[in-house]
Protein backbone atom coordinates (compact mmCIF):
# COMPACT_ATOMS: atom_id res chain seq x y z
CA UNK A 1 0.00 0.00 0.00
CA UNK A 2 1.23 3.44 -0.88
CA UNK A 3 0.76 6.67 1.07
CA UNK A 4 -1.62 8.18 -1.50
CA UNK A 5 -4.25 5.43 -1.07
CA UNK A 6 -7.40 6.97 0.35
CA UNK A 7 -9.27 5.71 3.41
CA UNK A 8 -12.81 4.32 3.35
CA UNK A 9 -14.39 7.67 4.20
CA UNK A 10 -12.74 9.42 1.27
CA UNK A 11 -13.58 7.10 -1.61
CA UNK A 12 -16.72 7.02 -3.76
CA UNK A 13 -19.19 4.17 -3.09
CA UNK A 14 -19.43 0.99 -5.15
CA UNK A 15 -15.89 1.23 -6.43
CA UNK A 16 -16.71 4.07 -8.84
CA UNK A 17 -13.47 4.65 -10.73
CA UNK A 18 -11.55 7.76 -9.91
CA UNK A 19 -9.15 7.25 -12.79
CA UNK A 20 -9.73 6.54 -16.45
CA UNK A 21 -8.70 3.15 -17.76
CA UNK A 22 -7.12 4.95 -20.76
CA UNK A 23 -3.89 5.28 -18.79
CA UNK A 24 -3.85 1.61 -17.86
CA UNK A 25 -2.27 -0.08 -20.86
CA UNK A 26 -3.64 -3.60 -20.80
CA UNK A 27 -1.82 -4.28 -24.08
CA UNK A 28 1.20 -5.05 -21.89
CA UNK A 29 -0.41 -8.35 -20.98
CA UNK A 30 -0.18 -10.02 -24.36
CA UNK A 31 2.04 -12.88 -25.35
CA UNK A 32 0.87 -13.12 -28.97
CA UNK A 33 0.35 -10.13 -31.25
CA UNK A 34 -2.10 -10.10 -34.17
CA UNK A 35 -0.38 -9.27 -37.44
CA UNK A 36 -2.43 -8.63 -40.55
CA UNK A 37 -1.61 -9.26 -44.18
CA UNK A 38 -3.26 -6.26 -45.94
CA UNK A 39 -3.27 -8.14 -49.23
CA UNK A 40 -5.49 -10.91 -47.84
CA UNK A 41 -7.71 -8.56 -45.79
CA UNK A 42 -11.06 -7.76 -47.44
CA UNK A 43 -12.02 -5.07 -44.84
CA UNK A 44 -15.08 -7.08 -43.84
CA UNK A 45 -14.66 -5.66 -40.30
CA UNK A 46 -15.61 -8.87 -38.54
CA UNK A 47 -12.50 -8.48 -36.39
CA UNK A 48 -13.67 -4.98 -35.35
CA UNK A 49 -16.99 -6.42 -34.19
CA UNK A 50 -15.51 -9.42 -32.43
CA UNK A 51 -12.62 -7.73 -30.58
CA UNK A 52 -13.64 -7.93 -26.90
CA UNK A 53 -11.43 -4.95 -26.03
CA UNK A 54 -12.47 -2.57 -28.79
CA UNK A 55 -8.83 -2.52 -29.82
CA UNK A 56 -9.39 -2.74 -33.57
CA UNK A 57 -10.69 0.46 -35.11
CA UNK A 58 -12.21 1.19 -38.49
CA UNK A 59 -10.63 4.33 -39.90
CA UNK A 60 -12.98 5.58 -42.65
CA UNK A 61 -10.55 8.28 -43.72
CA UNK A 62 -7.99 5.59 -44.57
CA UNK A 63 -10.56 3.07 -45.68
CA UNK A 64 -8.75 0.61 -43.44
CA UNK A 65 -8.61 -0.94 -39.99
CA UNK A 66 -6.02 -0.19 -37.33
CA UNK A 67 -4.90 -2.26 -34.33
CA UNK A 68 -4.47 -0.45 -31.04
CA UNK A 69 -1.67 -2.49 -29.50
CA UNK A 70 -1.88 -0.48 -26.26
CA UNK A 71 -5.11 -2.29 -25.47
CA UNK A 72 -4.94 -5.51 -27.51
CA UNK A 73 -4.46 -8.34 -24.98
CA UNK A 74 -3.54 -10.81 -27.74
CA UNK A 75 -6.53 -13.11 -27.24
CA UNK A 76 -6.56 -14.14 -30.89
CA UNK A 77 -10.31 -13.90 -31.45
CA UNK A 78 -9.72 -11.65 -34.48
CA UNK A 79 -7.42 -14.21 -36.08
CA UNK A 80 -9.89 -16.98 -35.35
CA UNK A 81 -12.81 -15.09 -36.89
CA UNK A 82 -11.01 -13.70 -39.95
CA UNK A 83 -12.69 -15.42 -42.96
CA UNK A 84 -9.62 -14.97 -45.21
CA UNK A 85 -7.00 -15.90 -42.57
CA UNK A 86 -5.43 -12.48 -43.03
CA UNK A 87 -4.55 -12.24 -39.32
CA UNK A 88 -1.91 -14.43 -37.70
CA UNK A 89 -0.82 -14.43 -34.08
CA UNK A 90 2.92 -13.93 -33.65
CA UNK A 91 4.95 -14.35 -30.48
CA UNK A 92 5.95 -10.90 -29.21
CA UNK A 93 9.67 -11.51 -29.52
CA UNK A 94 9.48 -12.79 -33.08
Amino acid sequence: MTKQDKNWKEIAPAGVCSKSSITFLTGDWKTYTPVRDPAKCTRCLLCVLYCPDGAIHWRPEKGDIEFDYNFCKGCGICANQCPTSAITMKLEQE
Partner: protein, 410 residues
Protein backbone atom coordinates in the same frame (compact mmCIF):
# COMPACT_ATOMS: atom_id res chain seq x y z
CA UNK B 1 -50.04 15.17 15.74
CA UNK B 2 -50.76 14.93 12.03
CA UNK B 3 -54.07 13.28 11.24
CA UNK B 4 -53.83 9.91 9.58
CA UNK B 5 -55.34 9.59 6.12
CA UNK B 6 -58.49 7.69 5.24
CA UNK B 7 -57.65 4.20 4.08
CA UNK B 8 -59.36 1.52 2.12
CA UNK B 9 -59.95 -1.88 3.72
CA UNK B 10 -59.08 -4.61 1.23
CA UNK B 11 -59.11 -8.38 1.47
CA UNK B 12 -55.60 -9.33 0.36
CA UNK B 13 -53.29 -12.30 0.73
CA UNK B 14 -49.74 -11.32 1.69
CA UNK B 15 -48.48 -11.69 -1.88
CA UNK B 16 -51.28 -9.52 -3.24
CA UNK B 17 -50.59 -6.92 -0.57
CA UNK B 18 -46.94 -6.84 -1.62
CA UNK B 19 -47.85 -6.45 -5.30
CA UNK B 20 -50.28 -3.66 -4.41
CA UNK B 21 -47.63 -1.87 -2.37
CA UNK B 22 -45.14 -2.13 -5.25
CA UNK B 23 -47.79 -0.81 -7.64
CA UNK B 24 -48.34 2.23 -5.44
CA UNK B 25 -44.62 2.83 -4.88
CA UNK B 26 -44.05 4.22 -8.38
CA UNK B 27 -41.70 1.42 -9.41
CA UNK B 28 -39.96 1.88 -12.78
CA UNK B 29 -38.72 -1.66 -13.39
CA UNK B 30 -39.81 -5.08 -12.17
CA UNK B 31 -37.68 -8.01 -13.30
CA UNK B 32 -38.82 -11.28 -11.81
CA UNK B 33 -39.22 -14.99 -12.24
CA UNK B 34 -42.09 -16.91 -10.65
CA UNK B 35 -41.53 -19.38 -7.82
CA UNK B 36 -43.91 -20.72 -5.18
CA UNK B 37 -44.96 -19.15 -2.80
CA UNK B 38 -43.98 -15.80 -4.31
CA UNK B 39 -45.74 -16.40 -7.64
CA UNK B 40 -48.83 -14.30 -6.88
CA UNK B 41 -46.67 -11.19 -6.41
CA UNK B 42 -45.26 -11.38 -9.92
CA UNK B 43 -48.52 -12.64 -11.39
CA UNK B 44 -50.50 -9.80 -9.86
CA UNK B 45 -47.94 -7.21 -10.84
CA UNK B 46 -47.89 -8.43 -14.44
CA UNK B 47 -51.66 -7.93 -14.48
CA UNK B 48 -51.20 -4.32 -13.43
CA UNK B 49 -48.77 -3.93 -16.32
CA UNK B 50 -51.07 -5.65 -18.82
CA UNK B 51 -54.03 -3.58 -17.70
CA UNK B 52 -52.07 -0.34 -18.03
CA UNK B 53 -52.44 0.47 -14.34
CA UNK B 54 -48.71 1.10 -13.97
CA UNK B 55 -46.03 2.53 -16.23
CA UNK B 56 -43.53 -0.02 -15.01
CA UNK B 57 -41.22 -1.84 -17.40
CA UNK B 58 -41.82 -5.52 -16.67
CA UNK B 59 -38.94 -7.79 -17.64
CA UNK B 60 -39.66 -11.51 -17.96
CA UNK B 61 -36.28 -13.04 -17.31
CA UNK B 62 -35.10 -16.64 -17.66
CA UNK B 63 -33.97 -17.16 -14.07
CA UNK B 64 -33.68 -15.52 -10.69
CA UNK B 65 -29.99 -14.87 -11.28
CA UNK B 66 -31.07 -12.79 -14.27
CA UNK B 67 -33.92 -11.21 -12.33
CA UNK B 68 -31.44 -9.86 -9.83
CA UNK B 69 -28.94 -8.88 -12.54
CA UNK B 70 -31.65 -6.92 -14.39
CA UNK B 71 -32.84 -5.29 -11.15
CA UNK B 72 -29.29 -4.22 -10.32
CA UNK B 73 -28.76 -2.78 -13.79
CA UNK B 74 -32.07 -0.93 -13.75
CA UNK B 75 -31.38 0.48 -10.31
CA UNK B 76 -27.87 1.51 -11.32
CA UNK B 77 -29.30 3.73 -14.06
CA UNK B 78 -31.40 5.51 -11.46
CA UNK B 79 -34.65 3.57 -11.88
CA UNK B 80 -36.64 2.31 -8.91
CA UNK B 81 -36.45 -1.47 -9.17
CA UNK B 82 -38.45 -4.17 -7.43
CA UNK B 83 -38.37 -7.95 -7.58
CA UNK B 84 -39.59 -10.91 -5.58
CA UNK B 85 -38.51 -14.49 -5.04
CA UNK B 86 -38.38 -17.40 -2.60
CA UNK B 87 -36.38 -20.46 -1.62
CA UNK B 88 -34.35 -21.90 -4.52
CA UNK B 89 -34.90 -18.67 -6.43
CA UNK B 90 -33.20 -16.68 -3.71
CA UNK B 91 -30.44 -19.27 -3.57
CA UNK B 92 -29.88 -18.87 -7.31
CA UNK B 93 -29.59 -15.10 -6.79
CA UNK B 94 -26.88 -15.59 -4.20
CA UNK B 95 -23.99 -14.32 -6.32
CA UNK B 96 -25.91 -11.29 -7.54
CA UNK B 97 -27.12 -10.31 -4.06
CA UNK B 98 -23.54 -9.39 -3.19
CA UNK B 99 -23.23 -7.44 -6.44
CA UNK B 100 -26.38 -5.47 -5.52
CA UNK B 101 -25.13 -4.51 -2.08
CA UNK B 102 -21.59 -3.93 -3.34
CA UNK B 103 -22.85 -1.64 -6.11
CA UNK B 104 -25.01 0.13 -3.53
CA UNK B 105 -28.18 -0.16 -5.57
CA UNK B 106 -31.42 0.34 -3.57
CA UNK B 107 -33.35 -2.61 -5.00
CA UNK B 108 -36.33 -3.77 -2.95
CA UNK B 109 -37.24 -7.45 -2.97
CA UNK B 110 -40.01 -9.43 -1.33
CA UNK B 111 -39.05 -12.92 -0.20
CA UNK B 112 -41.97 -15.28 0.43
CA UNK B 113 -39.94 -17.37 2.87
CA UNK B 114 -39.82 -21.05 1.97
CA UNK B 115 -37.76 -24.10 2.85
CA UNK B 116 -34.83 -25.18 0.70
CA UNK B 117 -34.48 -28.57 -1.03
CA UNK B 118 -33.76 -31.45 -0.50
CA UNK B 119 -36.21 -32.98 0.21
CA UNK B 120 -38.41 -30.69 -1.83
CA UNK B 121 -40.75 -28.58 0.25
CA UNK B 122 -42.75 -25.54 -0.81
CA UNK B 123 -43.81 -24.39 2.65
CA UNK B 124 -42.63 -21.67 4.93
CA UNK B 125 -39.47 -21.46 6.95
CA UNK B 126 -36.56 -19.04 7.07
CA UNK B 127 -33.82 -21.22 5.57
CA UNK B 128 -33.76 -19.20 2.34
CA UNK B 129 -33.23 -15.68 3.67
CA UNK B 130 -31.11 -16.73 6.64
CA UNK B 131 -28.70 -18.29 4.15
CA UNK B 132 -28.34 -14.79 2.65
CA UNK B 133 -27.68 -13.17 5.99
CA UNK B 134 -24.21 -11.95 5.05
CA UNK B 135 -25.05 -10.75 1.54
CA UNK B 136 -25.16 -7.11 2.62
CA UNK B 137 -28.92 -6.76 2.32
CA UNK B 138 -31.14 -5.16 4.92
CA UNK B 139 -33.67 -7.76 6.11
CA UNK B 140 -37.11 -7.03 7.49
CA UNK B 141 -39.57 -9.77 8.50
CA UNK B 142 -43.32 -9.10 8.46
CA UNK B 143 -45.76 -10.46 11.02
CA UNK B 144 -48.86 -10.24 8.82
CA UNK B 145 -50.07 -9.18 5.37
CA UNK B 146 -50.66 -5.64 6.59
CA UNK B 147 -47.06 -5.34 7.67
CA UNK B 148 -45.85 -6.88 4.41
CA UNK B 149 -47.71 -4.11 2.57
CA UNK B 150 -46.41 -1.39 4.88
CA UNK B 151 -42.85 -2.73 4.86
CA UNK B 152 -42.56 -2.75 1.07
CA UNK B 153 -43.54 0.93 0.94
CA UNK B 154 -41.15 1.76 3.78
CA UNK B 155 -38.33 -0.24 2.18
CA UNK B 156 -37.98 2.12 -0.77
CA UNK B 157 -37.43 4.99 1.65
CA UNK B 158 -34.91 2.98 3.67
CA UNK B 159 -32.99 1.64 0.67
CA UNK B 160 -32.85 4.95 -1.18
CA UNK B 161 -31.78 7.01 1.83
CA UNK B 162 -28.46 8.56 0.84
CA UNK B 163 -26.83 7.46 4.09
CA UNK B 164 -27.89 3.88 3.39
CA UNK B 165 -28.04 3.02 -0.34
CA UNK B 166 -28.44 -0.68 0.35
CA UNK B 167 -30.88 -3.21 -1.06
CA UNK B 168 -33.71 -4.37 1.21
CA UNK B 169 -35.45 -7.72 1.39
CA UNK B 170 -38.81 -8.06 3.10
CA UNK B 171 -39.58 -11.55 4.34
CA UNK B 172 -43.15 -12.80 4.55
CA UNK B 173 -43.76 -16.37 5.67
CA UNK B 174 -44.65 -18.64 2.78
CA UNK B 175 -48.33 -19.60 2.70
CA UNK B 176 -48.95 -18.49 6.30
CA UNK B 177 -48.74 -14.93 5.00
CA UNK B 178 -48.22 -15.16 1.27
CA UNK B 179 -51.43 -17.08 0.54
CA UNK B 180 -53.66 -16.20 3.49
CA UNK B 181 -56.37 -13.62 2.97
CA UNK B 182 -56.39 -10.85 5.55
CA UNK B 183 -57.97 -7.47 6.00
CA UNK B 184 -55.37 -4.98 4.81
CA UNK B 185 -55.73 -1.23 5.11
CA UNK B 186 -54.30 0.37 1.99
CA UNK B 187 -53.25 3.99 1.75
CA UNK B 188 -54.47 6.08 -1.20
CA UNK B 189 -52.17 5.98 -4.25
CA UNK B 190 -51.15 9.63 -4.07
CA UNK B 191 -50.25 9.34 -0.37
CA UNK B 192 -47.91 6.41 -1.04
CA UNK B 193 -46.43 8.17 -4.06
CA UNK B 194 -45.69 11.22 -1.95
CA UNK B 195 -44.31 9.14 0.90
CA UNK B 196 -41.84 7.20 -1.25
CA UNK B 197 -41.06 10.36 -3.24
CA UNK B 198 -38.75 10.66 -6.22
CA UNK B 199 -35.43 8.85 -5.94
CA UNK B 200 -32.55 11.13 -4.98
CA UNK B 201 -28.91 10.57 -5.80
CA UNK B 202 -25.62 10.91 -4.02
CA UNK B 203 -22.92 12.70 -5.99
CA UNK B 204 -19.61 11.15 -6.95
CA UNK B 205 -16.41 12.29 -8.61
CA UNK B 206 -15.89 10.37 -11.81
CA UNK B 207 -12.74 9.52 -13.72
CA UNK B 208 -13.43 12.54 -15.93
CA UNK B 209 -13.08 14.77 -12.88
CA UNK B 210 -16.80 15.66 -12.89
CA UNK B 211 -19.03 15.58 -9.83
CA UNK B 212 -22.24 13.94 -11.02
CA UNK B 213 -25.24 12.03 -9.66
CA UNK B 214 -24.36 8.46 -8.67
CA UNK B 215 -26.07 6.60 -11.50
CA UNK B 216 -25.22 5.20 -14.91
CA UNK B 217 -25.73 7.96 -17.46
CA UNK B 218 -24.23 8.00 -20.98
CA UNK B 219 -23.63 11.77 -20.70
CA UNK B 220 -21.60 11.33 -17.52
CA UNK B 221 -20.00 7.92 -17.82
CA UNK B 222 -18.81 6.08 -14.73
CA UNK B 223 -17.90 2.53 -13.81
CA UNK B 224 -19.58 0.86 -10.84
CA UNK B 225 -18.23 -2.18 -9.08
CA UNK B 226 -15.14 -2.80 -11.18
CA UNK B 227 -12.04 -4.55 -9.89
CA UNK B 228 -10.67 -3.53 -6.48
CA UNK B 229 -7.83 -5.67 -5.21
CA UNK B 230 -5.76 -5.78 -2.04
CA UNK B 231 -5.40 -2.01 -1.98
CA UNK B 232 -9.09 -0.97 -2.03
CA UNK B 233 -11.57 -3.89 -1.69
CA UNK B 234 -11.47 -3.80 2.11
CA UNK B 235 -12.33 -0.07 2.18
CA UNK B 236 -15.47 -0.63 0.10
CA UNK B 237 -16.63 -3.38 2.45
CA UNK B 238 -16.11 -1.08 5.42
CA UNK B 239 -18.36 1.49 3.69
CA UNK B 240 -21.13 -1.12 3.46
CA UNK B 241 -20.86 -1.78 7.19
CA UNK B 242 -21.23 1.95 7.86
CA UNK B 243 -24.32 2.05 5.63
CA UNK B 244 -25.82 -0.78 7.70
CA UNK B 245 -25.17 1.18 10.89
CA UNK B 246 -26.87 4.22 9.35
CA UNK B 247 -29.83 2.02 8.43
CA UNK B 248 -30.57 1.47 12.14
CA UNK B 249 -31.62 5.12 12.45
CA UNK B 250 -33.28 5.29 9.06
CA UNK B 251 -35.51 2.25 9.72
CA UNK B 252 -36.73 3.96 12.90
CA UNK B 253 -37.29 7.33 11.22
CA UNK B 254 -39.25 5.79 8.36
CA UNK B 255 -41.31 3.71 10.81
CA UNK B 256 -42.35 6.80 12.77
CA UNK B 257 -42.98 8.94 9.67
CA UNK B 258 -45.14 6.18 8.26
CA UNK B 259 -47.05 5.98 11.54
CA UNK B 260 -48.02 9.64 11.17
CA UNK B 261 -49.83 9.06 7.90
CA UNK B 262 -51.11 5.50 8.44
CA UNK B 263 -51.53 5.20 12.19
CA UNK B 264 -49.48 2.00 12.08
CA UNK B 265 -46.04 1.40 13.49
CA UNK B 266 -44.07 -1.73 14.31
CA UNK B 267 -42.35 -1.13 17.60
CA UNK B 268 -39.51 1.26 16.88
CA UNK B 269 -39.17 -0.27 13.42
CA UNK B 270 -36.32 -2.48 14.58
CA UNK B 271 -37.89 -4.54 17.35
CA UNK B 272 -41.36 -4.84 18.77
CA UNK B 273 -41.57 -5.48 22.50
CA UNK B 274 -44.79 -7.13 23.65
CA UNK B 275 -45.58 -7.10 27.39
CA UNK B 276 -41.87 -7.13 28.19
CA UNK B 277 -41.74 -4.31 30.77
CA UNK B 278 -41.90 -6.61 33.80
CA UNK B 279 -41.44 -9.99 32.07
CA UNK B 280 -39.39 -12.74 33.73
CA UNK B 281 -39.59 -15.10 30.77
CA UNK B 282 -39.57 -14.07 27.12
CA UNK B 283 -39.32 -15.48 23.64
CA UNK B 284 -37.62 -13.85 20.65
CA UNK B 285 -38.96 -14.62 17.21
CA UNK B 286 -39.42 -13.32 13.68
CA UNK B 287 -42.34 -13.19 11.29
CA UNK B 288 -45.83 -14.60 11.53
CA UNK B 289 -45.16 -16.77 14.61
CA UNK B 290 -45.21 -13.61 16.71
CA UNK B 291 -48.94 -13.24 16.05
CA UNK B 292 -49.66 -16.57 17.72
CA UNK B 293 -47.06 -15.88 20.39
CA UNK B 294 -48.83 -12.69 21.45
CA UNK B 295 -52.00 -14.70 22.10
CA UNK B 296 -49.95 -17.25 24.05
CA UNK B 297 -48.39 -14.45 26.11
CA UNK B 298 -51.84 -12.98 26.85
CA UNK B 299 -53.00 -16.40 28.10
CA UNK B 300 -49.95 -16.78 30.31
CA UNK B 301 -50.44 -13.29 31.71
CA UNK B 302 -54.03 -14.19 32.62
CA UNK B 303 -52.60 -17.14 34.52
CA UNK B 304 -50.24 -14.84 36.38
CA UNK B 305 -47.06 -15.70 34.45
CA UNK B 306 -44.87 -12.72 33.71
CA UNK B 307 -44.33 -13.60 30.06
CA UNK B 308 -43.31 -11.36 27.18
CA UNK B 309 -42.26 -11.42 23.55
CA UNK B 310 -39.63 -9.65 21.53
CA UNK B 311 -40.23 -9.63 17.81
CA UNK B 312 -37.17 -8.94 15.73
CA UNK B 313 -38.58 -7.00 12.79
CA UNK B 314 -35.22 -5.90 11.47
CA UNK B 315 -32.73 -8.75 11.39
CA UNK B 316 -30.13 -6.89 9.32
CA UNK B 317 -28.81 -4.59 10.54
CA UNK B 318 -29.01 -6.38 13.88
CA UNK B 319 -30.50 -3.90 16.38
CA UNK B 320 -28.00 -4.70 19.14
CA UNK B 321 -28.90 -1.88 21.55
CA UNK B 322 -32.66 -2.26 21.05
CA UNK B 323 -32.54 -6.00 21.74
CA UNK B 324 -30.31 -5.59 24.79
CA UNK B 325 -32.43 -2.89 26.35
CA UNK B 326 -35.73 -4.69 25.59
CA UNK B 327 -34.45 -7.84 27.33
CA UNK B 328 -32.58 -6.02 30.11
CA UNK B 329 -34.77 -7.32 32.94
CA UNK B 330 -35.75 -10.70 31.54
CA UNK B 331 -34.39 -13.70 33.45
CA UNK B 332 -34.80 -16.45 30.85
CA UNK B 333 -35.01 -16.05 27.07
CA UNK B 334 -36.05 -18.57 24.40
CA UNK B 335 -34.80 -17.68 20.93
CA UNK B 336 -36.81 -19.21 18.12
CA UNK B 337 -35.30 -20.26 14.83
CA UNK B 338 -37.30 -21.35 11.78
CA UNK B 339 -34.02 -22.41 10.28
CA UNK B 340 -31.08 -24.65 11.05
CA UNK B 341 -27.41 -23.89 11.05
CA UNK B 342 -26.19 -27.45 10.70
CA UNK B 343 -23.38 -28.20 13.09
CA UNK B 344 -23.52 -24.64 14.34
CA UNK B 345 -24.79 -25.39 17.85
CA UNK B 346 -28.15 -23.67 17.37
CA UNK B 347 -29.90 -21.55 14.80
CA UNK B 348 -28.76 -18.20 13.40
CA UNK B 349 -31.12 -16.00 15.43
CA UNK B 350 -30.07 -17.81 18.61
CA UNK B 351 -26.39 -17.17 17.86
CA UNK B 352 -26.99 -13.50 17.38
CA UNK B 353 -29.31 -12.86 20.30
CA UNK B 354 -27.02 -14.74 22.66
CA UNK B 355 -24.11 -12.74 21.25
CA UNK B 356 -26.00 -9.51 22.01
CA UNK B 357 -26.81 -10.66 25.55
CA UNK B 358 -23.23 -11.54 26.36
CA UNK B 359 -22.69 -7.83 27.07
CA UNK B 360 -25.88 -7.47 29.15
CA UNK B 361 -25.49 -6.24 32.71
CA UNK B 362 -27.66 -9.09 33.98
CA UNK B 363 -27.10 -11.93 31.59
CA UNK B 364 -30.24 -14.10 31.33
CA UNK B 365 -30.46 -17.82 30.59
CA UNK B 366 -30.75 -18.18 26.82
CA UNK B 367 -32.06 -21.28 25.09
CA UNK B 368 -32.85 -22.09 21.48
CA UNK B 369 -36.00 -23.56 19.96
CA UNK B 370 -35.78 -24.78 16.39
CA UNK B 371 -39.34 -25.00 15.07
CA UNK B 372 -41.62 -25.00 12.03
CA UNK B 373 -39.16 -26.33 9.47
CA UNK B 374 -40.76 -27.06 6.12
CA UNK B 375 -43.89 -25.24 7.22
CA UNK B 376 -44.69 -27.50 10.17
CA UNK B 377 -47.39 -25.84 12.24
CA UNK B 378 -46.67 -24.83 15.81
CA UNK B 379 -49.81 -24.85 17.94
CA UNK B 380 -50.45 -22.40 20.79
CA UNK B 381 -50.11 -25.34 23.20
CA UNK B 382 -46.64 -26.14 21.88
CA UNK B 383 -45.61 -22.51 21.94
CA UNK B 384 -46.87 -22.19 25.51
CA UNK B 385 -44.63 -25.10 26.50
CA UNK B 386 -41.62 -22.92 25.64
CA UNK B 387 -42.57 -20.51 28.41
CA UNK B 388 -43.26 -23.38 30.78
CA UNK B 389 -39.77 -24.70 30.11
CA UNK B 390 -38.31 -21.25 30.77
CA UNK B 391 -40.12 -21.20 34.12
CA UNK B 392 -38.62 -24.61 34.83
CA UNK B 393 -35.13 -23.26 34.09
CA UNK B 394 -35.71 -20.42 36.56
CA UNK B 395 -36.91 -22.85 39.22
CA UNK B 396 -33.97 -25.23 38.68
CA UNK B 397 -31.45 -22.43 38.30
CA UNK B 398 -29.82 -24.12 35.31
CA UNK B 399 -30.30 -25.04 31.66
CA UNK B 400 -30.37 -28.73 30.89
CA UNK B 401 -31.05 -28.67 27.15
CA UNK B 402 -29.92 -25.45 25.51
CA UNK B 403 -31.14 -26.43 22.03
CA UNK B 404 -34.57 -27.97 21.59
CA UNK B 405 -36.71 -28.97 18.63
CA UNK B 406 -40.34 -27.91 18.95
CA UNK B 407 -42.91 -30.29 17.51
CA UNK B 408 -40.36 -32.84 16.31
CA UNK B 409 -41.14 -36.54 16.71
CA UNK B 410 -38.81 -38.66 18.79
Amino acid sequence: MQKTVKQEMMALAGDQAVAYAAKQSDVDVVAAYPITPQTIIVEKFSEYVADGEVETEFVCVESEHSAMAASIAASATGARAFTATASAGLALMHEMLFVASGCRVPVVMAVANRALSAPLNIHGDHSDSMAQRDSGWIQLYAENAQEAYDSIIQSFRIAENLGVLLPVMVGLDGFTLSHTLENVEALPDEVVKEFVGVRKFATVLTHEGKTVPFRLDPDNPMTMGPIALQNYYFEFKRQQEEAMKNALDVVQQVNSEYAKISGRSYGDGLVEAYRLEDADVAAVCLGSTSGTMKTVVDGLRQDGVKAGLLRLRTFRPLPVEAVRSALANVKAVAVMDKCMSFGGNGGPVFHEIRHVLYEAANRPYVVNYIYGLGGRDSSPVELRSIYENLQGILRAGRVETPIQYLGLRG
